[in-house]
Amino acid sequence: MTIENTQSSNTANAATTKSQTTPEVETTSSPKITEEQPQLEDLAEDAIISDASETDPSPEENTTTSLMSESEAAQLLIELSDAQERAAKFSEEKKLIYEQLMRRQAEFENFRKRVERERTEVNLQAKANVVIELLPVLDNLERALESAPKGDEVLFENILTGVKLIHRQFLDVLIGLGLSPIKAMGEAFDPHIHEAVTTEANNELPENTVIAELQKGYKLGEKLLRPAMVKVSVRG
């Protein structure tokens, strides 16, 4: 873990310097060439001087060879400087690519860990998406039961009991999926799980106590599906 982290930050650091210099790549690389050039020129002079000393004994033949070698040397020197320039460019490029690779590597490691983490969440999320759509149905079923009049007819009573059983069955299915209601009534108001929609003056209960639950809140496992909609006490 630690190694990975330092690695990623290291490479990232290097990347900063790089990104800052990118616009000036040409200017930064050209000084290098000028630095190397004096050496090349020295070499060239040496070559010419030594050629000249050798030419002394037999001038005829050697003039041509010396001319040849001079132009050849010049040609070679140009090639050499070209090659060096290219090598410098390649090593610069290699450095860049390496840095980018290291950064990608670190990024991929973190990504892999995240995917791992998310995979467990995806399942829960899929379930949550379905259950959350079913909650209004549950709410309305409960509203219906609550507003049912105290019936005196046996038939009505029987139907009502049946609907109550359906409600119980529906709730059991949801609980089986991991649904649990949130405690609200009489609890201290907690915005992490409660949503205050109204307040009421009340000096008997401590401030910020839930004094009415207007709509039930639910969790799926540890995940909050919907906060409980509540009325909260305030100082009168």
């Binding site: 990347a15 990504f111 219906a144 992490h192 910020n208 207007l214």
Partner: protein, 611 residues
Amino acid sequence: MGKVIGIDLGTTNCCVAVMEGGVTQIIPNKEGGRTTPSVVGFTDKGERLVGQIAKRQAITNAANTVFAVKRLIGRKYNSPEVQRAKESSPYEITESANGDARVRIQTRDYSPPEVSAIILQRLKSAAEDFLGDEVDEAIITVPAYFDDFQRQATKDAGKIAGLNVQRIINEPTAAALAYGLGKRASEKVAVYDLGGGTFDISILEMNDGVFEVLSTCGDSFLGGEDFDQRIIDWLIDEFRNETNIDLRQDRLALQRLKEAAERAKCELSNTMEATINLPFISADTSGPKHLNKALSRNRFEDLVADLVERTVEPCQKALWDARLKQGDIDKVLLVGGQTRSPIVQRRVEQLFGRAPSAEINPDEVVAMGASIQGGVLLGEVKDLVLLDVIPLSLGIETRGGVFTKIIDRNATLPIKKSLVFTTVADNQSTVEVHVLQGEREIATHNRSLAKFELVGIAPAPRGVPQIEVSFEINVDGIVEVSARDKMTGLEQAMKISPSSGLSPDEIYRLIEEAKANEEADKQQKEILLLKNRLEGLLQNTQRSFSEFGWMLSVNEQESVRNTLMVAKEAMASDDIGMIKQNLAELEKIGRIITDAMFSGAAGGLGPGGGM
């Protein structure tokens, strides 16, 4: 340097994105949301709540819950914008010693950057959780019309939150980046941004990586929430006509209506009709009442037509200010959730004579663009350079209170420019150089940046002295202004660093404070975790004690009871040390009980085994 995150710090909602492997990704907050409401709540226990959670407690704590602090950032208390925000703010807005707007929370004054920093800190920590790595670098977007003060204040907010703000970029520019624009030469783009509570229209011109803002206009009090309200009002009216019951008096009913209205509005973006079904919404003597309404798209469009019309004039004005005609716009981009409504898209098409682009989620497009800019800085994105431009013109006040521009807005930085001025009176020995920023002709309508005097001008008839005023802005946006009497060579100069009204010392103090708060948050989290463990252990121990307690000696039973009681009390405290100690104690007695269980069991089995 790790990742650079892109942050859309909006008036009503924020969104964060990051570029990973060349692809932008939205970073969800800890509650799982892809956007976070820009709301901060300060509880009397000293907690700072952010986002959805802050919103849920707003009604119980209205005076200490800050909404839409973006309307105040980098502004003076006396400015019309702040005065207007004051009217609709349930929290108190005050004036600081230097005239800036402040927010008063429980007797303490907070600068708007501090409040924004609390949001940013939360976004940063969500990003760190998501990426599994530290995040220190960010790009933050601001509206195109923000001046240097507002930009600097936004930057300071980032700094206080522990973020190094690499760039502040314009929201419309970010949207254009997200759409991959800016690579071709000369494109003119209109960005139509209808968010939760504000409307902005910006006309941009892009030229080889330089994004110029040609004009901006808007309505800072118009947004999606107004559209929802129209549906709610309609439902309430319909219901009253049918039942004579006024739902406005019923908080629960209103809440249900609000959710249903928003849902219907979203549905109507894709369907021709939405059903709003709210059984048992109310009741009277005759029994329960249900609300069941079908809202057709046509009806909805009638309800909101005037709201959409209100965006037309700002658009026409923006075109006019940019000296463009309808057909000159090459591309129209939609930003903000409300632009999903077909009526908005149709009107925009009519206005600009071109179908708008809406392929990218309009709630996320700005954050995505900001993260692309982050990718540019990291070298992940290659074929794009974004050059910094000066957002508003700079100049000085001249005779008659006229504002004379010296550097025009959208000039690419760095830049240096000068103009020669002269005296207005005979033998005038001093001139005052009043530096301002803005686009208005009258100096006082612009933002004053600095004032200084050039003294000792040689006596001369008016109009003769030649005073050269030079402006130089470096790449960091620091402005240097100098005035030089060409005859005497006398010179006076001053540096104007963009300032948010907070001094470096103050910013330093705020950074330390924010860190301390982050520490406190972490501690809070630890306490919570420990308490959860304690609660679990307490329950287990209680259970096993009630089952197997009889196996213990009387003394042991007594000590277990005591430990359990003390532990129960510890549940109510926030003292880490005490909680930890109780955890250890409980573990100890847990072992005693287990030991007793085993020895008891062994003893009980003994004789049985012997049989």
